[in-house]
Structure formats: structure tokens, C-alpha cells
């Protein structure tokens, strides 16, 4: 406000003031995220090269590559492999189930649609641990699903096995796939699809050439929302899985809370983070070319 009236560069002064206001508004969360996110992230990177101590808290001395080398250990690789394919499988299955489901909801009349949507919102907002626990009960040796399987002569108790973990992941993350897909399908301009029906005649072709590409943003968002937490899953495998179904999440927690090997835990965490960043970047860039 000290700029003399009538001189040029008033505009520059007002813009500077505006930028200052923007920065000031963001500053509290900016500082917060630097202190409680960016710096901790750097710490994890640094700890990957630190050495292990008996007390749990590692010594920031004797820098070495032991922990990083552990990444190539066959146990770790096996766990990483298992986690990755379970997460991928879960993402694909969620997509296959959720797409027709979201499509069905999005193409109902408005009143019905809102009602159906509300019914999706409830599991979405329901506590994740509670929903996982529900399967712990169903899959138990005398749980309903087990008894059903035994009655049909098809399966026994799946608890503490890979299929149980897989069911838990599917159940846990399916709502994360439905909502972005629904949002994308709901926005589709149906006159385009009509036009395509005229051009291609076959409904399937029109769907593949028009509807599917138009809803790609929803597919990408949903896939990321499912894949990331599936890969880092901890609660689900811990409750429904057993020793043979350790995933990366459990492995890391184990390194910190049981084995007290922080450097290895840090190195694995960093590895997951890096893989995740690369995967999401590539996926976003390519526009999610799974189709």
C-alpha cells in the first residue's frame, strides 16, 4: 500500500500482495507437511544405510549397504512377488466386478440411482478393520462360509491362507473401485454412445470404442486407489493370513515391531515407495493403457 498512487507497477504491487496471501494461507500446512512428511521421508532413506543396534533405535554410524542388499534376499523377493501378484489380481478382479456394477447403477433412473449409490456409500465409509473382521468370522473353521463350502463339498476352512487374504482384499477395496468408476460412467454423454451405435451397429463395439475410452479416467483412479493399499496391505493379511502368506506390509511391520531391524524395514519401505511412484507415474502418463 506504500506504492504512490498513479505510478506504474501498481499492478505488480497488487500481484505481489496476492502471492503473499496465497503463500501465507498455505504456509501452516506447508510447514507441517515438510516437518511431518518430507523430513521423515528423508529419514527413512537415510536409515536404509544405517546399522542395526540391539536397543531398536539404530545407530547413525557405520553406514553400510547391508539392508539394501537384503532386498535381494530370496525371502524378501518371494514376499514382494506374492504381494505384487495379489495386489494386481485384486485390482483386476475389482475392476471386472465393479465396472458392470457401477454401469448398472449409473444407468438407472435418478431416484433408483441415488438409492443404489447410498448403498455403496455405506460399506465405503464403514470401518476397514470391522469389515475385515467380518470375514475372519465367516472363514473360521465353523464359520458360515466354511460350513457352506463343506455342505457343497467344495472347500473347507480358508482362514490363514492366500485365498482368505485375497477375499479380504477384494472385500476391503472393492468400494474404492466402484466410486470413481461410477463418477466416470455417470458423466458419459450418452448421445455419443447413441451415435456410435448408429455407426458401429454392434452394441459391444460401441461400448469398447466409445464408453470404455470415455470412462478411462475412472478406471485409472480406481485402479490406483485399489492397487496401492493392496500392495501395502497389513491388516488384512495379518488377520486372515498365516505365516505362509506374509505380505510386504507384515514384513515391514515385523522388522520394526518384532525383529527390531529398522534399516531393513526402512529399505523395504523405500523400495515399495519407489516402485509405487514409478508405477503410478507410468500408469498416469500412458493413460492407463490396460485396454
Amino acid at each position: 500500500m506504500s506504492t504512490p498512487v498513479g505510478t506504474p507497477r501498481l499492478e505488480a504491487a497488487s500481484e505481489r500482495a496476492n502471492r503473499r496471501r496465497g503463500l501465507l494461507l498455505a504456509l501452516p500446512s506447508y510447514v507441517y507437511l515438510i516437518v511431518l512428511f518430507a523430513i521423515p521421508l528423508v529419514f527413512v532413506g537415510v536409515y536404509s544405510f544405517a546399522s542395526r543396534s540391539r536397543t531398536g533405535k539404530p545407530e547413525l554410524a557405520d553406514w553400510n549397504l547391508d539392508a539394501v542388499a537384503k532386498l535381494l534376499d530370496s525371502t524378501v523377493l518371494q514376499i514382494a512377488w506374492r504381494s505384487t501378484w495379489l495386489a494386481l489380481l485384486n485390482t483386476v478382479l475389482c475392476l471386472l466386478v465393479a465396472y458392470p456394477f457401477a454401469y448398472y447403477i449409473a444407468t438407472r433412473r435418478e431416484r433408483v440411482r441415488n438409492m443404489l449409490l447410498l448403498l455403496v456409500m455405506i460399506p465405503f465409509w464403514t470401518n476397514f478393520l470391522v469389515r475385515t473382521y467380518a470375514w475372519r468370522v465367516l472363514l473360521d473353521s465353523d464359520g458360515l462360509v466354511t460350513r457352506l463350502g463343506e455342505g457343497l463339498g467344495l472347500w473347507g476352512s480358508m482362514l490363514f491362507s492366500a485365498p482368505a487374504v485375497f477375499l479380504g482384499l477384494l472385500y476391503g477395496f472393492l468400494p474404492f473401485m466402484v466410486l470413481p468408476l461410477y463418477a466416470a460412467i455417470e458423466r458419459v454423454d450418452w448421445s455419443l454412445v447413441e451415435a456410435a451405435r448408429d455407426l458401429y451397429a454392434s452394441g459391444w463395439k460401441a461400448f469398447r470404442r466409445v464408453t470404455l475410452p470415455l470412462t478411462r479416467p475412472g478406471i485409472i483412479a480406481g485402479s490406483i486407489l485399489v492397487f496401492i493399499p493392496s500392495l501395502g496391505a497389513y491388516v488384512t493379511p495379518d488377520i486372515l493370513g498365516g505365516a505362509k502368506t506374509t505380505l510386504l506390509g507384515n514384513y515391514i511391520v515385523g522388522q520394526f515391531l518384532a525383529a527390531r531391524n529398522w534399516p531393513v524395514g526402512s529399505a523395504v519401505s523405500m523400495a515399495i515407495l519407489i516402485v509405487m511412484l514409478i508405477a503410478t507415474t507410468v500408469y498416469f502418463r500412458s493413460g492407463g493403457r490396460t485396454f
Binding site: M1, T3, P4, V5, G6, P8, L10, E11, A13, S14
Partner: protein, 355 residues
């Protein structure tokens, strides 16, 4: 001498590379109905926003009643705006919208109620005070926007294409109403529009803009009868252009070789364009019928267009085609395509504009 309500002095506004307003000088008098007229994108809104304080000039200064505005924010300026999209607060009733400015200035509640009531009456929305903007028609929303600004008794009211979103009939009715309201409240109106008819009928003075530049300022008749350049002549109303060269002061030689008398401003030898409004051209079959002292050109009727209240004849002079407008009045002579006709016009109606 009346006071200068708004003084815009050498104002330029740039958005990165785009020059939205280019070195504009303009003084608007107190109590005036002033229109800024120009095609879309010419910088009208930007000019208005700088007066309101929503944008600051890159160069130059803006005064309101002699006081330099500088970096004064909008809430400290004695002006109010009627926004193009109305910008009514959707979460408030009509009365709350209209009373917003008064409430912000800490006017006592009883006075607010009274003034809001009066303002709502003024724009003829009596009984709608408790509605929400969404429950109103476009025309009614427009009136709320007007009341919301007027109720503050600003020294200057800025209106950005306020009738742009309304249909033709309503727009015409609102034009008259706006003009009446302005007379009643006696506030300076700065009115932005791209509709030339609207500007011509409502304004005391008009400023014509194009590509950020203020091309001409004047009363409606001046702008229409004496356009300063080709753009103004073309943009305001309909016109014909005939190219030629200044032969001597007040005389132009057309491209076809004919000499005509016209209003000239440029030295002998200058290449000029004559602008000639269709309704200023009179058509005759015989030379004897032409009033003395008129310019005449002979041509043939190329085409005739029937407009109901008038007829347009497209006349071919060989070197140019010209449209002439003839009132569809009783006993008015009709011409058929192929007829040879004499087009007559006065020297005063032909303005010679330098390229």
C-alpha cells in the same frame, strides 16, 4: 461545469502477452449514462473491472471524483457493479442479497430493512424478497443484481452487459426501465455492451472500443453520423464503403472516376473510404426528380430484399455495389431488378475516412 465522475488516464492493462486495454484516456461526467461499446474481447469488461478495483492497471491511473484510486480494493471504492452473470449469492434470499452491501457497511438494521424494501420496489420485485435467486427468472435475477448495487447509492454504477442473457422483448423493456431508473436516481452509469442499438438508444455518450483501444467517444448521433474511422462506421449500424481519393477539400474522386462532394478531413491526394449509410441514399428513376445540390450516381438494381418495414436495393455502380434502404411507405416508388436508377445523397451524409 459538471464534475468528472470517472477519470481514466493513459490506462493500459496487460495479461501476460495479451494487451486487454491499450492506452485508454476517458473522462465520464457526473450523472452521465455512458456506454462502452465494442465487440466481444475488446477490453470492455477489463476496463470496468479496473474502475471497480477488481483489477489494477498495468500502467496509468484511475480517478473517481478526482480521487486517485491507486491500489484501493473494491470495498473501499464508491462504486458498485452489476455483473454480467449477476453473481447473486445463491445461499441468500433476495432481501439478503440486496441488503448485503448495507450490512457490510454496518448500516443499522432498521434502515437496512427500509432501504432494501425501497430498492426491491424500485426494480419492481415487490413480494419476492424471501425467494432465493434460483427461484427467479433471468429477468428477475437481473433486477435483483441491479437493486443490490443501487441500494448502496454508489457514486458510480458499473454495469457489465446486464441485459446480455435476456431475450429480445425483455431486453427492450429493460432498456427503457434502466434508463428511467438512472434518471430517477441520478447516478453516473457506466454501461458495457456489445449491442450497438442498446448503446445508441440508452446512452448520453458512447465510447467505442476495439482490440483494447478506445476509438471514438461521442453522443449517439456523433458516433453514428460522424464515425471517426472505418471500424466505428462498420460496427455501428449498417454502412456502405466506397473507396476514392481527396480531389480538393470537400470533394472526393471515387474509384469509378465520378466526383462527389463529401465531408473530408484529410489533405488533397489522400486515399480515403467514403462511408454512406443505406438510409441516406435516395433512389430515383429520372434525374429531374433529384433535389438540387445532391450527389448522384447512376447504377442498376441488382437485387431487392424485402424486410417488411423497409426494402433494401443492392445497386451496381460498376466499380462498387451499394445497399440502399427505402421505407416501405405508401405511394413509395418500387424498383425492379434490372432497372436503371439514380442514387442521390447529400454531401453531409458521406464521410471521407482515411485508411
Amino acid at each position: 461545469m459538471t464534475a468528472i465522475a470517472v477519470g481514466i488516464h493513459s490506462v493500459t492493462k496487460r495479461f501476460d502477452e495479451v494487451v486487454a486495454v491499450d492506452d485508454v484516456d476517458l473522462e465520464i461526467s457526473d450523472g452521465e449514462f455512458f456506454s462502452l461499446l465494442g465487440p466481444s474481447g475488446c477490453g470492455k469488461t477489463t476496463t470496468l473491472r479496473m474502475v471497480a478495483g477488481l483489477e489494477f492497471p498495468t500502467e496509468g491511473r484511475i480517478d473517481i471524483f478526482g480521487e486517485a484510486m491507486g491500489l484501493k480494493p473494491p470495498n473501499h471504492r464508491p462504486v458498485n457493479t452489476v455483473f454480467q452473470s449477476y453473481a447473486l449469492f445463491p445461499h441468500m434470499t433476495v432481501a439478503e442479497n440486496v441488503g448485503f452491501g448495507l450490512a457490510m457497511r454496518k448500516v443499522p438494521a432498521t434502515e437496512i430493512t427500509e432501504r432494501v424494501h425501497d430498492a426491491i420496489d424500485l426494480v419492481r420485485l415487490t413480494g419476492m424478497a424471501d425467494r432465493r435467486p434460483k427461484q427467479l427468472s433471468g429477468g428477475q435475477q437481473q433486477r435483483v443484481a441491479l437493486a443490490r448495487a443501487l441500494v448502496n447509492r454508489p457514486k458510480v454504477l458499473l454495469l457489465d452487459e446486464p441485459l446480455g442473457a435476456l431475450d429480445l422483448k425483455l431486453r427492450q423493456a429493460m432498456q427503457l426501465e434502466l434508463k428511467d431508473i438512472q434518471k430517477e436516481v441520478g447516478i453516473t452509469f457506466v454501461y458495457v455492451t456489445h449491442d450497438q442499438e442498446e448503446a445508441l438508444t440508452m446512452s448520453d455518450r458512447i465510447g467505442v472500443m476495439n482490440e483494447g483501444k478506445l476509438l471514438q467517444v461521442g453522443r449517439s448521433e456523433e458516433i453514428y453520423e460522424r464515425p471517426a474511422n472505418r471500424f466505428v462506421a462498420d460496427f455501428i449500424g449498417e454502412t456502405n464503403f466506397l473507396s476514392g481519393r481527396v480531389e480538393e477539400s470537400g470533394v472526393v474522386r471515387l474509384a469509378g472516376g465520378q466526383l462527389v462532394r463529401a465531408v473530408t478531413h484529410d489533405p488533397v491526394g489522400t486515399e480515403v473510404t467514403l462511408t454512406l449509410r443505406p438510409e441516406k441514399i435516395h433512389l430515383y428513376l429520372r434525374a429531374g426528380d433529384v433535389a438540387p445540390g445532391m450527389n448522384t450516381l447512376t447504377g442498376t438494381v441488382h437485387r431487392r430484399l424485402y424486410y417488411g418495414d423497409s426494402l433494401y436495393y443492392e445497386i451496381d455502380f460498376g466499380f462498387a455495389h451499394v445497399d440502399a434502404r427505402v421505407e416501405n411507405a405508401p405511394r413509395q416508388q418500387r424498383f425492379e431488378p434490372g432497372h436503371e436508377v439514380i442514387a442521390a445523397f447529400s454531401a453531409q451524409s458521406a464521410e471521407a475516412l482515411a485508411e
